[in-house]
Amino acid sequence: MSDIIFFLLAGLGLGSLYAMLGAGLVIVYRGSGVINFAQGAFAMYGVFTFDEARRNGYLRLPWFDFLPTHTVNVPVSIKLSDEGVSTPVAFVLAIAMAVLIGLMAHFLVFRPLRSAAPLGKVIGSLGVMLYLQGVAQLNFGGTGRQPEAITPDGVFQNFLGLDKAYPQGAFWAVVLAVVIGAVLWLLFQFTRFGLATRAASSNEKGAVLLGYSPQLLAALNWVIASVLATLAAIIVGPIGGSLTPIGLSALVVASLGAALIGRLTSIPITMAGGLLLGAVQSLLGFWASKDWFPTILSSGARDVVPLVAIGLVLFLRGKKLPLRGTVEEKRLPLAPYPVRIKQHMIVWSVIVIVAAFLFEDAGPRSVFALALVTSLIATILMLSSVVITGYIGQISLAQLSLAGVAAFIMARMMADGAKLTPDGAVIPFPVSGPGLPWPIAALIGILVAVIVGVIVGLPAVRIRGVQLAVVTIAFAISLQTLYFENSKATGLTAGAPANVKPASFFGIDLKSIGDRGLKDRPEFMIFVLVVLLGAIALVANLRRNGTGRRFLAVRANERAAAAAGINVSRTKLLAFGIAAGIAGIGGVMLGFNQNDVSSAGFVYQASLAYLAFAYLGGITSVNGAIVGGLLAPAGLITVTGAYFFADAEIENYTAILGGLGMIITAIQNPNGIAPTLQPLFQHFGRWLRAARGPEWAAAGKRLGPTFVVGAVLGYLVWPLRVETYSQFWMPLLGGFLALMARGIYKQARAGGHGAPPGAHGAPPVAATTSTPAPAEVG
């Protein structure tokens, strides 16, 4: 008994961190309706600023040198002293940094997003998180840090007579959390500012009429949240051991749990919830070492059980249909009716097949083949987001985890205990198993993914919007810790990749990376292409048939859908099942591509990234998934960039650029890239079919100058930063980019008058019909 009490108390230290971050989440949510996935990243940047100033005497600013020259540089770090500043100075600097980050987040990201759809806000905050992680990697290095604690680091011997030593740091953290909680409560309950914030959160227009500026209030709330996060991380952070940018950012998940306990509205309940979460986690961690604890849960129970409990509470509180008068959420972009699917497929097939043979044994350039395969598989995964988020409007952050389920099950099903591959290569970690042939093993994997997907979808019956998004993250984490990383559950060696037998088709060997090194095999690329085309056909057919119409009806209005005879719950589960099936197809392809599966490929952070890139490409259409696939990590576009700008070390910037891309897309172009480019391509296609000699000459005259300017810029600018670059490719790339920019600008001028950058609710309808672009906005 005294053990139980002690471990509950021991968890309060970490719990106070959750409590303070959770309070910040609630404050931001009330102030501007954003679930701030970057809350952990705020804390991370603050504590790193603190540690860097105290240790090395540098102040690192939250941006990077983006100018493409070596002569003119953006100031990124300021040297304050040679051997570190004193603790109080560092503390003040960290708080000032937190204020700056809070203000930047509000004015640069969330103020412009104030009337965006919930998904847009989610993507915006994921973008901020990725951006801060990337900048922190650049400015502070990605390795762990162990900042010195500023609280006394001794222990209380025989604490409360429980016969154990209790760390003083945890004690002071709890004291601080309680004090801060009380201060916040007084602030929001009894001051004019608090009153105004609460008024604005329940009725923004009313607050304006009373003379308050909701935007100013929101900005202040962002600052409070950011400062709170930094404060918490500086005081409590050192408890958990060394700190990494990614590890600290991940704190947001448990904090979201605390915020959900407080229903995203109550600060005291949230803080109590955070403390409770920490305590329960600590106790579960203690119990997990006991004999009676189910071994299959022992590695993950600590993270998973509290999240599942919160999900259950939300589920029981939820309603099957939204109530009358529920504030309607802003809509997602239109899901265009796919046209000319066959033509698109033929074009893609030709491109991929040509690339497959072009890059066969192409030496260093076969990286492109590899990247193209990665992009094609990523496209399949993003198609699953198109179904679940684009078509039926459920924000699922667990799609990659479902892919992982299929891949792991497949690896298990085809395992036969062999120690060598058919080619005679050694399999490092042989696993015994039923040894099923690959198509059957893959099918079983996909079916299991479908079943798990439907389970993941169960909460969606009663939980909506961003709350559902948080619950799906909980599922992603559960799958990761309870299954992928749990050797008892997978039956595979923990942490070690499990072998996937290469697929073969009527005697054609579809070998993948493991066998071929970097030398490409066209057969595998064509295999991926065929599977992708199949998946595209499924998703496009879905949209054009009754099932897709019902999905969109549910997305548009659940009450009206029910009135039209649609069983909303069943339709949502069906969508989760279909999306999981498509994700499962992507998962088994990942397995074939890698020749093995390992938990590292399916961490929940990667799942977030996939949704974000799908959004970037265009979450509501097949074309969007293709663009998203090209943009995906290690996909064609990043690899091409890294190849041509080898010494720019572009891979250091992928997180930053990805984050910025998400923020800019969410603000400027919530439809994604594909719907923006599509009219351009349509226009070009029509022109190409009609053009004769004179038209070509006229076009040359019209577009030539733009191309030349772009080419010259490409030639001049990049060498300023990059020494080794391609004399041939840079001007060409610059020219094409200039042409594309011109096209987008013209199109915006011609058709964009109805949709100024602020009007996110009114997506253009250009892609719904085959009428000439640019279509008018209603």
Binding site: R549, R550, L552, N557, R559, A562, G565
Partner: protein
């Protein structure tokens, strides 16, 4: 024979009885109206019948079946189809697709076919959708998106969508709200047309003009209770109705409807529906 019957139906929100002991009857093939001032509980009544709000006591019978515990979609499948007062169209679907959604009756395996099969709708389905479009004169805008339509057109699409579900009983929740006089009259004519097509209609509105002119039988709701029922002529003379509309209740709608009611109550029989 009564298609819809409620027996002492009560709906409570906390301590407030939004509907108290409401017993009404809608005979097949008739157009029955329910009027009442704002806040009388009209929409709650439709919500309760269609399963969007749980009833606290009493019973609802449709087509001889007790509806207790049935979800809204099941009720729609039985032929009990409603429209919404606010414009709850599917904004991402064209007008035709809006109607198709309501008229399709999928089986559990239809999604498998939908995944592998290019787009296809059965001729019977097409005919029903086209019929509904024609009934309301919407053929010209079938491929437009709701956001491109005028308010009046959107209202008509809402009615057409309900009609495309081939309802036995069509529940119209304030279809004339926000329509101008001509549109409102046209809607009245359309409704008589639906009746000829074999659809029973239950019309809820606060526009006395429309209701008194087209309905065969009328119930009057005030503060959640039925205060009067009868034919249009009887309702016009009913002192309780005059009291409800002109007496205590305030609100912009009453101010609107009041004049025309008063004019009619005083005995002048007007031909067309005028309001506003």
């Amino acid at each position: 024979m009564a298609l819809l019957k409620t027996y002492d139906m009560t709906v409570r929100y906390g301590g407030l009885a939004a509907n108290a002991d409401v017993s009404i009857e809608v005979p097949a093939g008739k157009l029955v109206g329910l009027i009442g001032p704002n806040g009388a509980g009209k929409t709650t009544f439709i919500d309760a019948i269609t399963g969007f709000t749980a009833i606290s006591s009493g019973r609802v019978e449709f087509d001889g079946k007790d509806l207790a515990g049935m979800t809204p979609d099941r009720r729609a499948h039985l032929g009990l189809v409603r429209t919404f007062q606010s414009l709850e169209l599917f904004e991402d679907l064209t007008v035709r697709e809006n109607l198709l959604v309501a008229s399709e009756r999928p089986t559990w395996w239809s999604f498998l076919l939908d995944l592998v099969r290019p787009p296809r709708t059965s001729p019977a389905l097409e005919a029903r959708v086209t019929g509904a479009l024609e009934a309301l004169g919407l053929e010209g805008i079938a491929d437009r998106l709701p956001m491109d339509l005028s308010h009046g057109q959107r209202k008509l699409v809402g009615v057409a969508r309900a009609l495309a579900a081939a309802p036995k009983l069509l529940l119209l929740d304030e279809p004339a709200a926000g329509l101008d006089t001509v549109e409102s009259q046209l809607l009245g004519q359309h409704m008589r047309g639906f009746l000829d097509g074999g659809t029973t209609i239950f019309l809820i509105d606060h526009d006395m003009g429309l209701v008194l002119n087209v309905c065969d039988y009328i119930y009057v709701l005030d503060f959640g209770r039925i205060i009067a029922e009868g034919t249009a002529a009887e309702i016009r003379k009913d002192p309780a109705v005059i009291q409800a509309y002109l007496g205590q209740s305030a609100g912009e709608m009453q101010a609107q409807a009041g004049e025309s009611v008063a004019a009619r109550v005083s005995g002048t029989e007007t031909g067309g529906a005028t309001h506003g």
